[in-house]
């Protein structure tokens, strides 16, 4: 079961091999991987939208969509048709080329990152030796296209949204990179496959003290990278109408929507690869383990969406620079200590360092934390 898809592809290649030349077989193998991702990407996106609407619906004590198809399963198709047939309005003063380019260009990094995700044992599209670097570099390009979209649609609200997204991405990029550094130090290689192999047999990185903090950091900054609640300022619906994609409708809006959901899937897949041991796991096949872990993380993102209000711009920045960044640096130090000492002592030492770091940062940020208040009643 574990190597199901690998054997499938292998048999196809053998079958194609006996009547096609060598180079054609290689081409077909690449094509199979590419079509697998090109199909898997949008399908996950469609069914993530449905999962989100059903999950948040149930949180709010109501059914999610259940009219189209048995439990609303055909709802994504209906949304797709709606998006295709909706009129695609371009504002008069907009810069037509940039307005058209932004949604198209934002989907490219979202799809490219799938190449690096190790879905199962030797089921990774391209085993890059710089996998994580590739992922981090691509995920920071989305900022450019969000700003291009905001600038091109010549609308004050989207301009505000675009500027917010630039500020947010810049200040969350650094803690994100720094929170992955401990794993790279321990594993010694950027390749995602190597990272997962290093976590074989239950010593997932999340079970180490520095790994826990690194996991929380990487996940939070990942949520900020994807502009989801509580960091969804670029498209703050209640403040700036719909942020950078105010002036988009029809298929262009669907592309933004697709990019957001594919990014949130890849972020959770990479987080589970780096910290939760990728396809490592007892009994079930590898690729199933990765799907379970990343869907669990996506459900946490949706759980955030159903509960938390939004940050304000300055609080968002303050949280990144004054809390996440120093914590990430201290976490690297803790990982270093963990590496330097022998087995039982290093867990203790790095745990102490991490606890100390949290303690210091908590009290350092104490002044601008909101205080609880006591209310009194009027005396007649």
């Amino acid at each position: 079961m574990d190597q199901l898809f690998v054997n499938l592809k292998h048999s196809i290649l053998i079958f194609a091999g006996n009547f096609l030349p060598e180079w054609a077989v290689i081409l077909i193998s690449i094509l199979i991987s590419v079509t697998a991702i090109a199909v898997f990407g949008p399908v996950t996106m469609m069914y993530l939208t449905l999962l989100e609407r059903k999950f948040v619906g149930r949180i709010q004590n109501r059914f999610g969509p259940n009219r189209v198809g048995k439990w609303g399963l055909l709802q994504p198709l209906a949304d797709g048709v709606k998006m295709l047939t909706k009129e695609d309005i371009v504002p008069k003063g907009a810069d037509h080329f940039a307005h058209f380019l932004a949604p198209v260009a934002i989907v490219i990094p979202a799809l490219l990152v799938f190449a690096v995700v190790p879905f199962g044992r030797n089921m990774v599209a391209v085993d890059l030796s710089i996998g994580i670097l590739f992922f981090l570099a691509l995920s920071s390009t989305t900022t450019i296209w969000i700003f291009v979209a905001a600038w091109a649609s010549r609308n004050k609200f989207s301009l505000l949204g675009g500027l917010r997204s630039v500020a947010q991405m810049v200040s969350y990029e650094i803690p994100m990179v720094l929170s992955v550094v401990p794993v790279l130090m321990v594993v010694g290689s950027f390749s995602t496959v190597a990272i997962v192999e290093a976590q074989s047999g239950w010593n997932w990185f999340v079970l180490t003290p520095w790994g826990l903090i690194g996991f929380v950091l990487f996940f939070l900054t990942g949520v900020a990278e994807v502009n989801r609640t509580p960091f969804d300022l670029p498209e703050g619906e209640s403040e700036i109408v719909a942020g950078f994609h105010t002036e988009y409708s029809g298929m262009k809006f669907a592309l933004f929507y697709m990019a957001e959901f594919m990014n949130s899937f890849t972020i959770s897949a990479i987080v589970s690869t780096v910290y939760l041991g990728g396809w490592q796991g007892p009994w079930l096949p590898g690729w199933l383990w990765l799907l379970i872990k990343s869907y669990a993380l996506i459900l946490v993102m949706m759980w955030f969406r159903g509960t938390l209000p939004r940050f304000r711009v300055d609080q968002l920045m303050g949280f990144a620079w004054k809390f996440l960044l120093p914590l990430a640096l201290l976490n690297i130090f803790a990982a270093g200590v963990w590496l330097a000492f022998a087995r039982p002592v290093n867990y203790l030492l790095s745990a102490i360092i991490v606890a100390l770091a949290l303690f210091i940062l908590y009290f350092a940020n104490r002044p601008d934390m909101p205080k609880k208040r006591v209310y009194r009643y009027a005396v007649e």
């Binding site: 149930r58 949180i59 759980w303």
Partner: protein
Amino acid sequence: MFGFGVLKGMLVTIQNFFASYFSKDHLTTVQYPEERLSAKERYRNFPFLVYDQAPEDPRCVACDICAKECPPKCITIVRDSDAEGKPLKRPKSFDIDYSICMNCGICEEVCPFDAIFMDHEFELAEYGRFEDLMYHKDRLLKPNDHFKKIRPTDATRIDAKLAAKTQKPAPPVGN
């Protein structure tokens, strides 16, 4: 800054998530066309005219009080008159413009002859706003047992009152 308050809040939402599968109070959606909520007895939607035996002689005597008292002025009545032009105690035409009526129930209150009541019918979508929603007398008239079906307590009280009135001889006013 992320303290326990946020986690407590998330605990509440996840509890609601699981509660929605078990307790009825946590999943209050009614699937409208398939399941329907039963209308409460005093629910009032648009008015309708009541007739006892035949639609030709409704209880309404065209006294025009409800038309005068209606705040948005959406009732227009024309009194009927027999062959040689003597006015009769019967409306020739009784129009209520459902697109203006705000179902406030004042016509039901002020009607001295218990002729007009508020209905429970709410699926009244039409294509034309002006001609289709202007209800004429024929569409307004409904039998008394429809009134008994939707509002039993008021119906019994009014029927008793009317029955008592018919026992003692009706005042000799021309009819």
